[in-house]
């Protein structure tokens, strides 16, 4: 009995150790960056670096632009990938390994290759899109593809999609009802993960925005970081806070839309 208790204690201690280690790993650099961002004035901790950042009109302009691109990327990405993933789960489950292979490609192919490929293909008529933000969004969709697909795929794997679809069909539901009343509400947690990852990726993305020459937040942070000391740290903290803020807003908004107390734990 004592042996069992001591084993339990050891297991519990290990759990706490890894939890604390993980939290330190993630939050110590953030704390260090935050403290560094407060040292803009010599000898005292102040928010002067933050004042400089807010005073620069490029900060809000670039962040707003990246936010717009994030929203477009999320809409386009979910619009393409969610129906595809559902179709694969329902009709062609054998194609799953092929799609999973494609999801790895954005990790293997550097963004610079993607950017040059897009410029080469879409610089001339009939597809002269290099001056359109749609090309940037298309590039972001490719980069976000693994995050969106894997989050949606995990969500679909947890629920018995086939059976829920058949149950809804037997009650007279068409595909619209099945998608918007059954599948999407039950995918809420997975969709939020996909949205969060896409936001985080797009907000700080540098290569595509630079090569396609768009005034995005990623290039702005790189520009500021090149010439100033404390402002980049303040920017990093601000972008972190704003990304989380945007995600929380999405979560609150989507809770209002779905109107249910559903959580990932509800799926059995």
């Amino acid at each position: 009995m004592d042996k069992m208790n001591s084993e339990k204690m050891i297991r519990k201690s290990f759990s706490w150790f890894w939890l604390i280690a993980g939290l330190l790993y993630f939050f110590l650099p953030l704390l260090a960056t935050f403290l560094f961002s407060l040292k803009g004035k010599k000898g005292v901790l102040s928010f002067v670096a933050y004042q400089h950042v807010f005073a620069d009109p490029n900060f809000l302009n670039t962040f707003r632009f990246s936010l717009q691109m994030s929203v477009c990327t999320v809409l386009a990405g979910l619009g393409i990938i969610v129906p595809t993933a559902i179709w694969i789960h329902l009709r062609v489950p054998k194609a799953k390994p092929v799609i999973e292979f494609f999801t790895l490609l954005p990790f293997v192919i550097p963004p610079i290759i993607l950017a040059f490929g897009l410029i080469r293909c879409y610089a001339k008529p009939p597809f002269a899109l290099t001056t359109s933000p749609a090309l940037l969004v298309a590039g972001y969709v490719v980069i976000s593809f693994p995050y969106i697909y894997r989050a949606v795929d995990a969500g679909l794997s947890v629920m018995d999609l086939q059976m829920l679809t058949e149950a809804a069909q037997s009650l007279g539901a068409g595909w619209g009802s099945i998608l918007f009343r059954i599948i999407l509400p039950n995918l809420r947690t997975a969709l939020l993960s996909a949205i969060f990852l896409t936001f985080a990726t797009v907000i700080g993305e540098l290569t595509l925005a630079v090569l396609l020459a768009w005034p995005a937040f990623g290039p702005y942070m790189a520009f500021v970081g090149r010439d100033l000391a404390y402002e980049p740290a303040a920017l990093a903290i601000l972008s972190f806070a704003m990304t989380w803020g945007a995600i929380m807003l999405i979560q609150i908004a989507s809770r209002g839309v779905s109107g249910s107390r559903f959580s990932s734990g509800d799926i059995h």
Binding site: E166, A167, L171
Partner: protein, 363 residues
């Protein structure tokens, strides 16, 4: 013409034939069960009726309309699944009302009918619970209510009780039958559990390798199995090889014993047959034993006490016979190793062909 007509239905998955030329007519308000082991095609047949699979051959008629190529959403059939398939994001009340909401029934009417359904399944106080807050039995009740609230032409149940524990299973199966009879809804029920099928069905279709091996009332299926497969699949059975001595008089030999059947045998004299006897049809020889009964001598090898019954395993020549006796206060328990004479009536002695080819009794 039945309410549901299955006409020569076949289903192939690649080169594998899962349902083979199956025909069946189900009357309006009838409760028919498809009973069979895994892979016999019973669930595939149900899914074809529901519209989730398309027959490779044959046609499905519901109320005289060929629905073979009509999508499931337009067949107006209620379906209950093995794993409940409740929508996790909806409460029990919303699950039940889903079919009405999407068909545009006004909210007040929907609420009224949902309340009636909750009352019918005795779950009035659980309307606002989410599926994960309900037990398996409660979830299946909600699934049943959800399927019948839309007043479907027929109700299809795909092993609805197999995920539940024994006590709930018995209770819910009685409830399903009671609700089916109350509403008079035509029902097709798929199960691998013979007790379940026999206890709630008007007719049972025993399936094997994509075909109906035998269809009949539960009593008929149990007492008059048409093939060796049905005889061995339904209940416990003693089966011996025997040789026909006099087909006209219904006399066969099993080992060194001569047995008499109640009817003549449609197999020529001298041919090999199977003699099937239910354990509950056997008894120990006593003063009340009829003079024209059959006898088999043997020695008690094992005694298994099963509560209301006692099962004896008796060695007869080189074979073993299973015999069930009721555990009544008057019952005089024989001892292990005791020499006994097992007796059974002529009617209890069923003759089946030596192989598994379907076989007809002389009526």
């Amino acid at each position: 013409m039945g309410f549901i007509e299955l006409e020569g239905i076949s289903k192939n998955f690649g080169c594998n034939t899962v349902v083979n030329e199956l025909s069946l007519s189900v009357k309006k308000g009838e409760f028919v069960s498809f009973l069979g082991g895994s892979g016999c095609g019973k669930t595939t047949m149900l899914r074809m009726i529901a519209g989730f699979e398309t027959p490779s051959k044959g046609s499905i008629l519901i109320n005289n309309v060929n629905v073979s190529n009509i999508p499931p959403a337009r067949r107006k059939l209620g379906m209950v699944f093995q794993n409940y398939a409740l929508f996790p994001n909806m409460t029990a009340r919303k699950n039940i009302g889903f079919g009405l909401r999407i068909s545009g029934i006004p909210r007040t009417e929907t609420e009224k009918r949902v309340d009636e359904m909750l009352d019918l399944i005795h779950m009035t106080q659980f309307g606002d619970h989410y599926p994960h807050q309900l037990s398996g039995g409660q979830q299946q009740r909600v699934a049943l209510a959800r399927a019948i609230i839309v007043k479907p032409g027929a109700l299809l149940l795909d092993e609805p009780l197999s995920a539940l524990d024994a006590k709930i299973r018995i209770q819910l199966r009685d409830d399903i039958r009671a609700i089916q009879q109350q509403l008079g809804i035509t029902t097709i029920y798929v199960t691998h559990d013979q007790e379940e099928a026999l206890s709630i069905s008007d007719r049972v279709a025993v399936m094997r390798e994509g075909r109906i091996e035998q269809i009949g009332t539960p009593l008929n299926i149990y007492n008059r199995p048409a093939t060796s497969y049905v005889a061995s699949f339904i209940g416990t059975l003693n089966m011996f090889y025997g040789s026909v001595v006099d087909a006209e008089k219904g006399v066969v030999t099993v080992g060194e014993s001569l047995l008499r059947t109640a009817e003549s045998i449609s197999v020529d004299s001298g041919k090999t047959v199977r003699v099937a006897i239910r354990p509950e049809a056997l008894s120990l020889f006593n003063n009340e034993t009829m003079s024209d009964a059959n006898f088999l001598p043997g020695r008690i090898e094992t005694i298994k006490f099963l509560g209301s019954t006692v099962r004896f395993i008796i060695k007869f020549e080189d074979k073993f016979i299973s015999m069930d006796c009721f555990n009544t206060p008057q019952f005089k328990m024989p001892q292990k190793g005791e020499q006994v004479s097992v007796t059974f009536s002529r009617e209890a002695c069923q003759i089946l062909p030596g192989d598994a080819i379907p076989f007809c009794y002389h009526e």
